[in-house]
């Protein structure tokens, strides 16, 4: 028998006290035990990016980190982007630029983009395209995703 771990995950500013096996990935823990199902799971081995979220402001694959490793870390997921009824500029931009169809990949792309733009607000077009190549979308095609993120980047830079 392996040991169980009593941990607290801080997701979008809210504490969730849960008990996990060490083998439980962060993606599974936040979905199954914290009820935050906005973060999607596709490949479970780091390739697709649908599980991308922010750990202390940095985009990571939540299928490649164990929940026990995430105590005391600020976790941000797609559920934390909108302020009440007010969508995040990236969410609005995805709608305006038709950057999603089925939406399965969208939470991962949004969190990837939020992380990139918060860390590199002046990112070049070439670097942005390279960074967005981190995630897979099976239906939209990437051109509209790049457009949406570019437009949101310009809006965020211009300020409210």
């Amino acid at each position: 028998m392996t040991r169980k771990h009593d941990i607290t995950l801080t997701i979008n500013g809210h504490d969730h006290a849960i008990t996990v096996d060490a083998r439980r990935t962060l993606a599974d823990a936040i979905r199954d035990q914290c009820g935050q199902t906005g973060t999607h799971i596709g490949c479970e081995h780091g390739v697709c990016g649908s599980c991308t979220l922010l750990l202390d402001g940095v985009p990571v694959r939540s299928c490649l980190i164990f929940a026990v490793q995430c105590v005391g870390v600020a976790i941000r997921t797609v559920e934390g982007l909108a302020q009440g009824d007010e969508l995040h500029p990236l969410q609005r931009s995805f709608i305006e630029h038709h950057a999603l169809q089925c939406g399965f990949c969208t939470p991962g792309f949004l969190m990837l983009a939020v992380g990139i733009l918060e860390n590199e607000p002046n990112i070049s077009d070439a670097d942005l395209r390279a960074a967005l190549s981190s995630n897979l979308c099976r239906c939209t095609g990437y051109a509209n995703i790049v457009k949406a993120v570019r437009a949101a980047a310009d809006e965020l830079r211009a300020g409210p």
Binding site: T2, R3, H5, D21, A22, R23, T25, D28, E44, H45, G46, G49, T52, V58, P59, V60, R61, C63, L64, I65, F66, V68, Q69, L112, G115, I116, A130, A131, S133, S134, N135
Partner: protein, 289 residues
């Protein structure tokens, strides 16, 4: 797929990490660094370690420093630390360029330089750097510390000189002479994939001819290595297409490339030849620091 059960140990110091590792290594205990190779392998159940010793909480292992002409890279220094040059001059710039070829942006936020060496994937950019630039690797266990040369450390596909109870503590790279020029080129079929072949080169110039040439090839054979025949084709020659073609031809002649379903040995050989030439051309173009 989900990883199999294991016992988790969060180490707070290097001493604690190696003491725990000494205890659990006989039961398939392993170090957990960035997890960007280990966790996928566990998800596929290709690895089923019974214990993981997490080193991410060990502050001293996050050390990235340039001191006394040496770049020291601690075990918890992430790939993303190289997104901006870590030193002035050609070395910092080439490491930044190479880092951009490792997986994807989020992978680089977690994966570590030293973890790449411990993993020893044939297509690892950092393994190629360690071998070509003569890195020195420090390993520690309860039996003490030792240092291992980069070329002796990487022994084959996912095979290194590390013993099961040893922690790779840091990697050191001597800063090159300020006038050293660097070039790197790799090819992969899709962004973020492991490369099918890659080349890292450096040389110095004096009196219009190259000297101290280094030329390493990764991804083509089961581990990266320098190609002495190619380096000999560069030393004493002026930089230019004649010497570069000769060195690239020497690469093709020296390699015994891997084969897989999608990639023949001949294809990898020609790819390595082409990449060696491209890396040399970009070194020639790069301004000497």
């Amino acid at each position: 797929m989900k990883p199999a059960a294991f016992e988790y140990h969060a180490a707070r110091s290097v001493e604690e990490a190696v003491a725990t590792l000494a205890e659990v290594a006989p039961d398939q205990g392993r170090i957990l660094a960035g997890g960007q190779s280990l966790v996928p392998t566990m998800a596929f159940r290709l690895a089923t370690p019974e214990h993981l010793v997490d080193i991410n909480g060990i502050e001293e292992l996050g050390r990235l420093a340039v001191e006394d002409g040496v770049l020291s890279i601690g075990a918890c220094v992430r790939h993303a630390a190289f997104h901006r040059p870590v030193t002035d001059g050609g070395l910092g710039a080439i490491l930044t360029f190479m880092a951009g070829h490792i997986g994807h942006y989020p992978i680089r936020q977690r994966g570590t330089f030293c973890g790449s060496l411990a993993q020893a994937d044939p297509s690892s950019e950092w393994c190629l750097a360690a071998v070509t630039l003569d890195a020195t690797i420090t390993a520690q266990s309860t039996r003490g510390r030792r240092t291992i040369a980069g070329a002796d450390f990487i022994q084959g596909i996912m095979t290194t000189a590390l013993e099961d109870d040893e922690l790779l503590v840091e990697t050191r790279i001597a800063l090159p002479a300020a006038d050293t020029r660097f070039g790197f080129a790799e090819f992969s079929r899709r962004a973020g994939d492991f490369a099918l072949a890659m080349a890292l080169v450096s040389f110095r110039l004096s009196g219009g001819v190259m000297h101290d040439a280094r030329l390493g090839i990764g991804g083509a054979e089961d581990h990266p290595r320098r190609i002495p025949q190619a380096e000999a084709a560069l030393d004493g020659q002026p930089p230019g297409s004649q010497a570069f073609e000769a060195a690239a031809a020497a690469v093709a002649a020296a390699l015994d490339p891997m084969e897989d379903a999608g990639t023949s040995a001949q294809y990898r050989r020609e790819l390595a030849q082409c990449l060696a030439r491209r890396a040399l051309e970009s070194a020639a173009e790069s301004a000497a620091a």
